[in-house]
Amino acid sequence: MPGYVFQFRLVFQELPLLLGGALTTVHLSVLTLLLSLAVGTLGAVCRLSRHAWLRRPATWYVEAIRNTPLLVQLFFIYFGLGQINVDVPNYVAALAGLVLNNGAYLTEIVRAGIEAIPKSQHDASVSLGMSYVQRMRHVIFPQAFRVIYPPLANQFIGIILFSSLVSVIAVEDLALRGKMIISRSFRSFETYIVVTAMYVVMTVTISAALKLLGRRLFRHA
């Protein structure tokens, strides 16, 4: 390769464009986290249910998602469903794909959290006359949340990183903005380094913040 002149300046001129993309990445990721936590909780409850008609579909869902790539899932939701006349706009498809994908992983995480609660807690709350819902809401979930918090924080980092894939279905996140800048400045090397650095900054900042939050939330024993 002939001598290459680095020109990071050309990339930094476009920082506002990149920051706009980063903002999209962040709020897409946060939305995904919240929604997939809901999906994961529902999935975990179904997986642990006595009723096979709840348990089996939940298991199929988890296995189907965890054994196929996110990229294929996104293409299927956006273009695949589009072909059978189910039109999903690109942002919705991105969100749906990310939520369904992470929902499956969170199902397993939440399930492990619930299963980590000793049976004595269940027995005690039953003896106190609590219904299933009350038991779950007031005794099991709060304790389970402590257990699932670290893997949940980890999963959030994964969500941010894998959200870069939605750039292939025209969602203007950080990755797509990076590609747009490359198409104008032709500085692929510098752009990819800067974009990667931005992802690392986001990830490290958020994971440090989550660790701090975790320590404050779970201060007592």
Binding site: Y4, V5, P89
Partner: protein
């Protein structure tokens, strides 16, 4: 682990940012190349084309890479008496990225020559002229370019079509895809109302849709040259390819290929004004 961990991570961050902010390393400008000699010595010509852009470079029923540009590449390799290796280039900007990175010897991929792109790479003389066109969903009721305002228009990142959209219909909502084929699919499925691409592309695809739901604007806009792309500082290779293109026109092979792929006469390459 926590304190050490956070400090360690901050350290890494600082290192990365320093790397990212490293000022323009005073390296040499692109040294003079001699791709012609490299190709002849290697006995192999590496050409970058698209594999998703009919009829210039695409996959046929047997999934072989075929097309107008592919035929030209084959002819060029034959004339040079070297082996041909076709490299599918993933996206429009990658034609330049691959060239600059030395992954291909020449880009023959319906490459519109523009002043902007000429700052980074060098274009040969034109081998074909094409204009811009709009392919649209008939349901979207588009007659001409201004109708695109307020509609969803699919474009390819880094294509001349993307730039044209912001000029001709600034009020349109852009859906940016990596590849023209994905953008076309979006139009076909109604996710976008229209796509801006090269004129021959719009004609081709409007004709091939089995549902006949796609239309195109009949008159091409702004005729532009397609050329081969080569690296800067590669004078001998540029001269060689320019001569090849001259012979391509002079021998009538270009007309023959154009008729084969387009069933029509090509636009005049040398305009008269």
């Amino acid at each position: 682990m926590s304190r050490k961990g956070t400090r360690g991570r901050v350290g890494i961050l600082v290192a990365l940012l320093a790397l990212a902010l490293w000022p323009a390393a005073g390296g040499a400008q692109q040294a003079p190349q001699d791709t012609l000699q490299a190709v002849l010595r290697r006995g192999e010509l590496i050409v970058g084309t698209f594999d998703f852009f009919p009829p210039w470079g695409y996959r046929d029923a047997q999934n072989n890479l075929v097309g107008m540009d592919v035929d030209i590449a084959k002819d060029l390799a034959e004339q040079m008496k070297v082996k041909l290796t076709l490299v599918p280039v993933p996206t429009a900007p990658d034609r330049i990225n691959f060239l600059v990175a030395g992954k291909i010897d020449v880009a023959i991929s319906n490459f519109t020559a523009t002043v902007e792109r000429s700052k980074t790479i060098t274009f040969t003389d034109p081998y074909v002229i094409d204009g811009f066109g709009v392919i649209f969903n008939k349901a979207a009721k588009i007659k001409d370019w201004p109708d695109l305002n307020g509609k969803k228009v699919a474009v390819t990142v880094g294509s001349t079509g993307e730039i044209l959209l912001s000029q001709k219909a600034p009020k349109a909502q852009a859906l940016r895809f990596d590849q023209a084929s994905a953008a076309l699919l979006a139009v076909q499925q109604g996710k976008a109302d229209a796509q801006i691409e090269d004129y021959t592309y719009t004609v081709y695809h409007a004709g091939r849709d089995p549902k006949k739901s796609l239309g195109f604007i009949e008159k091409p806009f702004d005729l532009n040259p397609y050329a081969f792309g080569v690296r800067k500082g590669d004078q001998e290779w540029l001269n060689f390819l320019n001569f090849y293109i001259y012979k391509l026109h002079q021998s009538g092979k270009m007309k023959e290929l154009y008729r084969k792929w387009f069933n029509a006469e090509p636009f005049r390459v040398s305009p008269s004004w």
